[in-house]
Symmetry: C5
Subunit: 403 residues, 5 copies
Amino acid sequence: MSDTDNFLDDSLITTETTAPDSMAADQPMGGISDRAATRQARELSVGERPGTLTVREDSLAPRLFLISYDEQFFEEKEYTSYDEMLAFFHAHPQQRHWIDVRGYGDLPLMERLMQDFDLHPLQMEDVLGDYQRAKVEQFDDNRLFMVSRMTEFTTLLEIDDDQLSIFTGPNYIISFQDDYDDCLDTVRIRIRSGFSKIKQKPVLYLAYALTDVVLDHYYPTMAAIGDYIETLEERIFKGRADRRVLNRILHIKKDIVRFRRLVYPEREKIAEILRMPDDVIPEEMKLYFKDCYDHAIQAMDLAESYRESVSSLVDLYLSDQSNRMNEVMKVLTIISSIFIPLSFVVGLYGMNFQREAPDGTINRLNMPELYQPWGYPVLLSILVVIVAFQLIYFYRKGWLSNR
Amino acid sequence: MSDTDNFLDDSLITTETTAPDSMAADQPMGGISDRAATRQARELSVGERPGTLTVREDSLAPRLFLISYDEQFFEEKEYTSYDEMLAFFHAHPQQRHWIDVRGYGDLPLMERLMQDFDLHPLQMEDVLGDYQRAKVEQFDDNRLFMVSRMTEFTTLLEIDDDQLSIFTGPNYIISFQDDYDDCLDTVRIRIRSGFSKIKQKPVLYLAYALTDVVLDHYYPTMAAIGDYIETLEERIFKGRADRRVLNRILHIKKDIVRFRRLVYPEREKIAEILRMPDDVIPEEMKLYFKDCYDHAIQAMDLAESYRESVSSLVDLYLSDQSNRMNEVMKVLTIISSIFIPLSFVVGLYGMNFQREAPDGTINRLNMPELYQPWGYPVLLSILVVIVAFQLIYFYRKGWLSNR
Amino acid sequence: MSDTDNFLDDSLITTETTAPDSMAADQPMGGISDRAATRQARELSVGERPGTLTVREDSLAPRLFLISYDEQFFEEKEYTSYDEMLAFFHAHPQQRHWIDVRGYGDLPLMERLMQDFDLHPLQMEDVLGDYQRAKVEQFDDNRLFMVSRMTEFTTLLEIDDDQLSIFTGPNYIISFQDDYDDCLDTVRIRIRSGFSKIKQKPVLYLAYALTDVVLDHYYPTMAAIGDYIETLEERIFKGRADRRVLNRILHIKKDIVRFRRLVYPEREKIAEILRMPDDVIPEEMKLYFKDCYDHAIQAMDLAESYRESVSSLVDLYLSDQSNRMNEVMKVLTIISSIFIPLSFVVGLYGMNFQREAPDGTINRLNMPELYQPWGYPVLLSILVVIVAFQLIYFYRKGWLSNR
Amino acid sequence: MSDTDNFLDDSLITTETTAPDSMAADQPMGGISDRAATRQARELSVGERPGTLTVREDSLAPRLFLISYDEQFFEEKEYTSYDEMLAFFHAHPQQRHWIDVRGYGDLPLMERLMQDFDLHPLQMEDVLGDYQRAKVEQFDDNRLFMVSRMTEFTTLLEIDDDQLSIFTGPNYIISFQDDYDDCLDTVRIRIRSGFSKIKQKPVLYLAYALTDVVLDHYYPTMAAIGDYIETLEERIFKGRADRRVLNRILHIKKDIVRFRRLVYPEREKIAEILRMPDDVIPEEMKLYFKDCYDHAIQAMDLAESYRESVSSLVDLYLSDQSNRMNEVMKVLTIISSIFIPLSFVVGLYGMNFQREAPDGTINRLNMPELYQPWGYPVLLSILVVIVAFQLIYFYRKGWLSNR
Amino acid sequence: MSDTDNFLDDSLITTETTAPDSMAADQPMGGISDRAATRQARELSVGERPGTLTVREDSLAPRLFLISYDEQFFEEKEYTSYDEMLAFFHAHPQQRHWIDVRGYGDLPLMERLMQDFDLHPLQMEDVLGDYQRAKVEQFDDNRLFMVSRMTEFTTLLEIDDDQLSIFTGPNYIISFQDDYDDCLDTVRIRIRSGFSKIKQKPVLYLAYALTDVVLDHYYPTMAAIGDYIETLEERIFKGRADRRVLNRILHIKKDIVRFRRLVYPEREKIAEILRMPDDVIPEEMKLYFKDCYDHAIQAMDLAESYRESVSSLVDLYLSDQSNRMNEVMKVLTIISSIFIPLSFVVGLYGMNFQREAPDGTINRLNMPELYQPWGYPVLLSILVVIVAFQLIYFYRKGWLSNR
């Protein structure tokens, strides 16, 4: 939760300077133009040969983890050698195994995994492409290929999403992701702790547990977004919203919409699992997946709710902008309305109409006020009265209060 | 209805000061950023172990009520001891019972209830999580697990919703809620009064009656919202709408949308009940649930109607803002247009062109007006005429009336 | 049609003054806040006991009409005594009867009707609640309970809707409405005239004819709305649109949306009738109901069309508001741009730089213009040229024309 | 295409004056308020007796055409006497016939047609009502009743639509329309020319050809709308968009939406034809209707595309309006910002502070500048510098360029 | 990717001048009015005779390519004589062939192709019309007719789309397109290279490969659009957005919506292929098409994402426009508010109230300030203080910073 806390204090600007690449100064932060989408489009346009494995250039070097367990047994190890891991795996046919591959950056290794565990090239392509929507596919009769998308609200104030691909086998599952740190640690901890249900149930339960933990991780993401929206709202309310705030609003709006589009296929995926025959997904497991289904719907409801909030923020921002314009105009109007008439009056008595004509006759009608003993004080009083009336008028209109 | 009345008088500001935590001064009242959603997201992200009961920290200490009845029999009592209640329950197998649990804050008790009444851990998790959408699940052949959401329009001027979970059994229902006060009292009163249909029918009718009363309670919520919208509209019409009013409009809009999202699954739930086989829901009961279904649709229609109204309020607010700007500009324009030309004229006759050149020659063309005997009065008359023409012009344009 | 004509002349303001309760002066006319919805919500929240008849307080005292007919026979009478009517009814088992109940304000009578004609309490509750959406229910094998909503565009410039409930029996129909005047007179006239198809066909045809006449009555309602929208548009075009006009636009928009929501279930109702088995609705009758179905769709299309028009009106209003602002600004700009520079120039020659220094030396550079014989006329000419150039500039920009 | 060309030149205003009834001066051109819909609503509310034929008052006097043909035979004639036509028709039972009725204004003739060709009263009512959506109905086992709507973009710059009703029979079709000129001439020409497929195929093919030609006629309508939208866009771009342009935009938007609503049931109609059993529509004919189906979808896509364009035009118009306001404000700001400070400076040296006090003492501090020999030239230089700085500032802001 | 790079530098204006026909100066670039749609509508309205082949006038002269291959064999050649090609084709019945027709501009050749390969006239009409949505049709039992739309983001900064039509046969496919350059080269290269899967599989795989490559080509199109949107966003952020930028935004928005409408039937097409029986599409091929299906959905997701971005750009533009207005007003307000009061003050002391009345009496109250020795310096100090206060006020309001 610490990621989201540091914008709860009022140091949004500070946060920006510590995240130089995305939020520097006046540059757009890839705000509205959907850079993630563009990157994705570009990646997807690379591998044009169907069923041919290619690894994206920025993929991490793979790290192999193996968690082997049954009700009594437990061993967890990171292997540097794939063969060593495979040997251990084959040596324990009675145990259940979780082969946990993090990083795709070694094409030959990926191809060996594909062959050793009978994965389909098109599925493996989906794994390595890293931009696959959540889905489930049934293959080899009763094996499953499941893709989930893990989300995180990053310090760059945007939603980051990573792909988790899971293949099930008779006594193992293989999971792939291109990230060393993930949100699956709660599952690992539960396996390590002796009493978890995971140990007592078939590997499908482990696959379920991983799917469920990904779904559950949507909530902190949403909560962080909720906090962020609150910060933005406060910012507008304190009258400190400039167009960078609008940019952020539009940015997070886009992210929320994207999030919704991430979760939607997740729901479809689980609905499809629930429709699968009982020999693939036993009735008892369906009860658990039904629970997942409820969670997915709730996540979508939340996303919908935030989308609504963000749309309202845009309205609020625009109204605020208009409000400030109003205020500017009011200052101009008040000052002009008071002083322009006064200027006229004093200009009037700055005229040079001559009491004495060139021929010496006296024009008594030419500005006699100027020669009255009380002329000047009377005029000043009149000016004061004018101002007073105007101020009363503006006060009544409510223009003097700071609405 | 008293909750909604106190904003019908014009004391909206007073209402605010009496609700300091949510509406203080200039602070946003959690208006647009959906704090309820954020809280929900945070709660939901806590319990990550599926099927493991946890109790939210702010849960109330449980209070146990038992209403036992048949056509002749009636007993209603609050029990401090669960065992005592259970004893009474088992001692009356011929009667029908309503076990009414209010407050979740005692995990062991919750677990005992779960075991004694054969509730599924995942269902119990839904109960305690308190953020479950309305749904119905059939379990153990013909038992039902039903979740409803009870709504209320609070003095904080927002919609509050609580969860009511009902399990049916052969001769009992168990209801759970995390609130001591609820909207179910009308049902209790009907049971107490001797002649209620509830007493004559199986417990399913009681479950129906509770579902129905929750649905019926949506209408006063809606009516309160309707009154509130009317207050906001009047506020705009009296020209007293500042941005806090906009905030409230956006806030209530969000709440209405949320309300609609609450009711929608309620409708789905009842539709699912209507599709259930006749041995679970007898034909006669379906007639009653069909009535519920109509009510749910009507509630959604109302919500839709209010959503439309609130959207129009936003339009009205923005137009009003623009109107006020218009008014400000008109004042500026009228005053400037009148006095700036006048200032020029008086400035003209404030110039110092000399009739007598330094060499003593007379320049008769240099401002001869200044030496005319009627110069000043004629000028004043001209000024009056200019002003009169301008005023006529502005009057014709309709700028002087207060449109 | 006379209701709609009186706003076709330009007497909208007059119309207002004759409808004091809804359109007085500056008060909102319950415009945007959906008072009808609020009233409905409040009504619906009253009767919380399902299946218990209650009568709304403002219900009219019932009036009973009986039209009895067959191909030869015809008798029409208003009965003050229910028993008398029932006696006549039972005395003519060979005839077909239309029992026409107008006004609900007599609970015992309603209960007797319910018992004598075997109506279900829940259905009777729908009748008396008066807020039921259009629907059809099949009961007692082949009897029908049909609810229609009759609409009218009132002199208050809003859509009023009333409920018409029809029960069919073997040789009679009973209709309920809480209004003495209705739109069913065309049907009554057709029965009275000897040659109507109604007399030759079973009572179901009468039920159809009533349903059809309600649907047909949607068109004059729509036509009146269309005329009203036209009036509003003209109002905007004549530049006489103030915010009350916006209020009306938003009000009628809301009403149109509500109308659409009234008609939609009407369509669903007829679709359900068309799906009913042939022994309930004979094939021949379905042809007639199919015609109704087309009419319902057409009414929805019209409503949709008007909704679009009204949305455009809002756009037009807002643009008009912006236009008027533009005009105000142009006046300000033209006058300021012309006179502020002129004021500077005349101010320039109002300066007091002295040709003669205190020590008597002549500063020939200090404003020599003031001493030229043609100084003043030349300056005036220059001022005229400046103004001319500015006017040409503004003319070219098109700011002088009244766009 | 000539209808659409005359707004391609810049003579939109001319076009207006030549179409006085719809576009005169400042009057709304029935723009936004949907007069066609209102007329339709009013028409539909007239005939309230189902199955009773009535003819609209403005119906044309009927003209009867008969085209009779088979592979060898061809005869085409306008008949003034219905009996004569019927005689010819019955005398040629081996040929195929197209009875082409244009104009409905003769009720007895319509009734005779109905009886002689076994048409259903409700269908005939749909024909004469002239406001029926596109639909198809199967009657008398394998006869069809098809309604199409023909569209045209008129010189009044709006979409006009007429109804074409077709009944099929064993060796004839009857078509009804209330217009002497139509878009079916291409079909007639194809029959006249010896080699058309129409002559070789059963009459259903002729019905198809008529349906297809109506659909194909949607494209020139759309093309004309496209040209018109382009004209409107250019108008905005040349800065000559006043609110009449907005009115037209909103008007054409409404028309496009209406067009879409016309085409949608056309698609549904063809889809229903495709679902009909093979003995009604032979497999070979379905291939042709499938082609129609594609065309209907394409027409809807085009309409959708134009709707999008028109919405963008509204955005563009509003932005343009705002732009012009901006420009007005910039002129005001630049001129005011330059001359108001200058006016202050020259006003400063117009003050009358006296060097010589009344008692004769010299106040050297009172405006010594006025007595300097270079005072005036130095001041003028300062003024020039101030103006230069301001101009540079405004240039840098880009306010001087005409953005 | 080079097409998209040249707007990444800041030479958007240059790009315009190099594309004179579409983006010249101030003329609209066919921006909002959908010229492509209009062209399409016009084309479609030409050929009104169903099943009659016509070739559009601007069609290219056809070029014929034949690629013949099996696992061992490969020959690729452009034929100038159709007969020669046909001879080669018939001489190699054991090989698989790709007949690649580019350009439609030779009607007799098209008709020969239609007859020699048993293509249906209506299908051939779809090919030559060039505006067919993506679709698949099964004909002659198990042959397929597939239409795809190939997209490209052109240097004119809009999406161009071309039609690719494919007919399958037992051992050949025929592809039609009206363009010499296409996006299918990757497939050709793969066939040329010895080891492609295409060589090992039946021709259906080739048809799949072509479909897939078209789909994959959507991604670079999308990526180019993404880059373009980014450029537009930067443009707004640098404050250099004039209405041409808005035009571009609305233009690209329209294009994205059109793109979405292109891709949607593509998805439907593949869904239909997946539903085809196994003897038409073998199970193995369906796996590949399933992959296509995922890609189509992803392309639609991307388009949706960009549509959202572009909508946000419009918001940003409008807000920016409003912002600039704000800025203009602030400059005006600050300068006016400072100098108008000052002008009044100096005007005050420019008045000519006379100390000495005409009769020689001294009016001590008439502007005694003017005779004080420190009068002028004190006044200047007061003016400085007023300005200082105003600047502080404006600074506090934040109007001096460049928000």
